[in-house]
Symmetry: C2
Subunit: 203 residues, 2 copies
Amino acid sequence: MAGEEQDTEAKIKRAAEQVFLEYGYEGAKIRQIADAAGVNIALVNYYFRSKEQLFKSIYMENFRAFFGRIVMMLNEETPLEVKIWKIVDRYTDFILDNPLIPIFILAENRKGSDVFFKELHVREVIKSAYFTKQLQEEVSKGNIRPIKPLHLIMTIVGNIVFPILARPIVSYVGDFDSDGFRQFMEERKKIVPEMIMAYLRPV
Amino acid sequence: MAGEEQDTEAKIKRAAEQVFLEYGYEGAKIRQIADAAGVNIALVNYYFRSKEQLFKSIYMENFRAFFGRIVMMLNEETPLEVKIWKIVDRYTDFILDNPLIPIFILAENRKGSDVFFKELHVREVIKSAYFTKQLQEEVSKGNIRPIKPLHLIMTIVGNIVFPILARPIVSYVGDFDSDGFRQFMEERKKIVPEMIMAYLRPV
DNA sequence: TTATATTTTAAACACTTGTTTAACTTCACA
DNA sequence: TGTGAAGTTAAACAAGTGTTTAAAATATAA
């Protein structure tokens, strides 16, 4: 009876997000979404024209959350090493709070139409980024060894995200409960930046 | 007209693997599998009792290929550094030759029932592994710094597999064609082992 | 060849899917 | 208060789903 009431459109979207994230596009059924939202099936098509359009808006939001966030952090004007530590820390927390996003984004992206990336100006944002310039400067100062930005990004993101993608296997092998897995990820907050810096520092 | 004839059961399985890998369990349709195999729909259920059972057998095979392969390589009796270089090299090649396997395995594993792992003795294979002992020995000899086997495994696999999972994005951002992406992965064959060794070597 | 089992087929079945319809209710406002 | 718009509903629609059936074709063996 508290302020939990939302307008119908928002209720549907919230329910759809939950269902799509858990089951994917094909696995999610409109009736399931309607049930989760507690509304009539027809209302889903009344507010959003089709399943595909509803999915698309949710996909875009989560794509932006998943990749936009890392790009934003990369472009903060912070010294490189501090930045890497900070990104790993904050991105790990983000992924732990939203563990379904990575597999959702990547699985639905198998067919991979350019459209999404173009609409989000992904390439431009990275090419013209402060991060790219920062890396070049650190290299020419002799502070770090040369590395392509994309390799560094893949290393940061992959090291954080992959254990989440493989979480059932990781938890089974490591015999982790929910807290155990969280602690495993906390350990990586130290390992991953140290490893990256160990590589980057010139010999 | 050459020796391309197979028995029906094998034809169905081969077609099913291709379709399941590309579209996932929900996205794959029996009629599509039957068409790809060039057989009547009913034959799919004649040879395999149901869609689920057909899927299960294919999933198991690919799970074994995906994780079994890395476990096997980890347990070869080779000096640690040599081994890491070799694994990254060979596993990268394997993933490049079978790029659909990782997202297939991980996406279908969202719900993550223990059953598969138990049947494949995943935990035991890792716990009692030569690799685990080897790591401990290297640590006590002072050759490397302490690290949990699972962290090292996640780092190796994540660094190789993640770019494949994010391939559409990577290729778009890096403006790669098929060869360009392959070359990007070839570069990682050097970066990833060097980074891991830079971390492991004691200060 | 004949009889028996195996394989293959077209058709249908029962059910679920996303979507639409047309009637009904609620609301805003002149 | 009355009127049109917006919101909601149960029901139906057409297409697609995995699966089964019963008959036909083919292979196997006596």
